[in-house]
């Protein structure tokens, strides 16, 4: 089980693979919620590092549509947005459909990364 924040930070680890290496693709995954502590300061500090499109796409692939395509202009001061961001970034998790390990694949390389 992988939180979406982790998925947002992982790229292909093969040496020299530095284009088309993110995000890792997944299939046969379901959504699971793991609780996390809400901390606005943490979200504001982390926000600049988020790859937004990858985050939204992966959430939607799992069936969560709560995040907008682009963040609002007042993102970091918007309490409602921060709560939604907290939920998707920290609490929505990728879990394998079967009992086995979740498979995430680098978009370019043929090697699979397993978690």
């Amino acid at each position: 089980m992988v939180r979406l924040i982790t998925h947002n930070l992982l790229a292909c680890h093969v040496k020299g693979c530095d284009s088309n290496n993110f995000p890792l693709a997944f299939s046969d995954a379901q959504l699971e919620i793991r609780e996390a502590e809400f901390n606005a300061e943490f979200l504001k500090g982390f926000f600049p590092k988020i790859e937004w499109k990858a985050l939204v796409d992966s959430a939607r692939q799992l069936g969560d549509v709560s995040l907008p395509e682009t963040p609002p202009a007042d993102a970091l001061d918007n309490e409602e947005f921060l709560k939604a961001l907290h939920h998707v970034l920290l609490e929505v998790c990728l879990k394998s459909l079967d009992a086995g390990q979740l498979r995430m694949t680098s978009p370019r390389s043929t090697y699979k990364k397993e978690r």
Binding site: L10, H13, A36, F42, G45, K49, L90, Q101
Partner: protein, 509 residues
């Protein structure tokens, strides 16, 4: 600004000030805080002159000159700051507001009666009070404590309250540490200093040591960091709410729990997933312990990977990286690679006779080879420079060989500045808690480290030097750090002849 006396525990002396300044930084009062360096703390040579060599030899119980003293004085803007330090610094026993101190009681009472000092204690005259008379490295003979208390009667404090006092007045005679068998009360009255003040706060952080006791933990292993040190490390890392902290050799998670306890969100990785998961297939070991400490909601994730093939998309992520890397003694320090030095990894997956790719099998173990501690340490510092936010800290233990250690051995690199270096001394070896701070910005010049094969490079340099008839003992003229091949030195008991020849052989690998 008010003057406070900080009473430290006896152990881990070199960790005291780094811990204290780290906590002051978290709460924003590092700049205004003024610390008296330990060697400037007042003392009293009672005869008013240095002891002669004869006197020194004739004394059966010489003072130990290197014994650390238990106090420093600190100027702080407010009592709240003192309480913050006492609540979080694991090495603090108590903090007092210091009213007067002197080499004799005569001088002490003289100082105590001065208007400026009287103004400090007069407001407490009608508060129910208790006097706590104590001594460092000494025992009072019967009756002397009462004599001391009576000496303060001029203060005219009105109401004694042994239970539940509103203020605790503290008197302490500090003696030299004297070693050897002697009558318990010998040398009574010959203290270095006597201190007088008011108890502001007992050090409550020390109770966390029992709280995080590894033996009571729901999940732990042979390499789990002990409670006290994992708390000190979390303080050095300045763990606090809103921060993101990473342990790249997370093992059984010891450092995650204390950082999370202080409010940080934490992430761990390790080359060996079994260390994080444990043997129980129904629950993850690290999460069991995290739940025990009520910090499960701050553990982001734990991942299995080798840092030399790390999957991080970008740098500049973490407020701190905190870790106890494997020295190669108990935990095998290894990295992915061929066990044959210099041979590159096969770029194609190995396919078994039945057509299955070997690495897809659940029992697959990737090929690894030793990761020598001095190479690991250099790589870790470069990795931290990339992964840390500017101003972020790397806090890690470096094993050192006592006789050979020199500060130039520390793995530094440009952009990382040394903040603290505290020794935990085990005799022939030790480990040093190194704190580095990233002082370079997040511009494009901070690249991820390449994790080159240092062993192979050294072998190449050695071959080159041999070809050119040069001295092969230290190719390139670089000093061999004392912790090179630490693992081998450890298992040889740090015997010198072996280690000298080892260093010569070391440059071959």
């Amino acid at each position: 600004m008010v003057l406070y006396l900080v009473h430290f525990t006896q152990t881990h002396e070199s960790f005291r000030l780094p811990e204290l300044t780290s906590i002051a930084e978290i709460h924003g009062f590092r700049e205004t805080m003024k610390i008296t360096p330990p060697d400037e703390m007042p003392r009293n040579d009672r005869k008013g002159r240095k002891k002669t060599a004869d006197e020194d030899r004739s004394s059966s119980f010489p003072a130990s000159p290197d014994a650390p003293r238990p106090f420093i004085t600190v100027e702080l803007e407010s009592e709240d700051q003192a309480k913050i330090l006492a609540a979080r610094c694991v090495l603090i026993k108590a903090i007092y507001e210091l009213w007067a101190h002197a080499p004799t009681y005569e001088l002490l009472h003289e100082l105590n009666r001065q208007p400026a000092v009287e103004a400090l204690w007069k407001p407490y005259r009608s508060t129910p009070f208790k006097m706590h008379v104590t001594a460092i490295h000494h025992t009072f003979p019967a009756g002397r404590v009462n004599e001391v208390i009576r000496g303060f009667s001029y203060m005219d404090f009105e109401r004694v309250a042994m239970d539940d006092p509103g203020v605790v007045l503290w008197i302490c005679e500090e003696y030299e540490l004297r070693i050897g068998m002697r009558p318990k009360t010998e040398g009574d009255g010959e203290f270095i200093q006597v201190y007088f003040g008011r108890l502001v706060a007992d050090g409550t952080a020390r109770s966390l040591i029992a709280h995080f006791d590894v033996k009571k933990r729901a999940y732990f292993g042979t390499t789990s960091m002990e409670a006290e040190m994992s708390l000190i490390m979390a303080n050095q890392a300045r763990a606090a709410p809103g921060k993101l902290i990473y342990d790249p050799f997370v093992g059984t998670g010891s450092l995650l729990y204390t950082c999370a306890y202080f409010g940080a969100m934490v992430f761990g990785s390790d080359i060996d997933g079994r260390q994080m998961r444990g043997k129980d297939p129904t629950s993850l070991g690290v999460m069991r312990a995290a739940s025990q400490y009520n910090v499960a909601q701050r553990i982001l994730d734990c991942a299995t990977f080798d840092i030399t093939y790390n999957p991080w998309r970008t740098g500049g992520l973490f407020d701190a990286i905190i870790t106890d890397p494997p020295y190669g003694v108990r935990a095998g320090a290894k990295r992915i690679g061929s066990s044959i030095l210099g041979r590159p990894l096969n770029p194609e997956p190995r396919v078994l006779p039945n057509g299955v790719a070997a690495h897809t099998k659940p029992t697959y173990i990737p090929p690894t080879r030793p990761y020598e501690i001095s190479d690991l340490a250099n790589d870790l510092v470069e990795l931290a420079r990339w992964l840390l936010k500017p101003g972020g800290r790397l806090v890690f233990f470096l094993p050192t060989v006592t006789d050979d250690y020199s500060e130039v051995d520390l793995p530094l690199c440009e952009g990382m500045s040394l903040v603290a270096n505290s020794l935990q001394d085990f005799g022939k070896w030790g480990r040093r808690l190194i704190t580095l701070e990233k002082v370079v910005g997040n511009d494009a010049s901070v690249e991820p480290p390449s994790f080159v094969d240092h062993m192979w490079n050294r072998r190449e340099q050695q071959a080159l030097a041999e070809d050119n008839g040069k001295d092969t003992a230290s190719p390139g003229g670089h000093r061999v750090p004392a912790h090179r091949r630490f693992r081998d030195k450890y298992f040889m008991g740090f015997k010198r002849e072996e280690s000298n020849s080892l260093d010569a052989a070391t440059n071959a690998s």
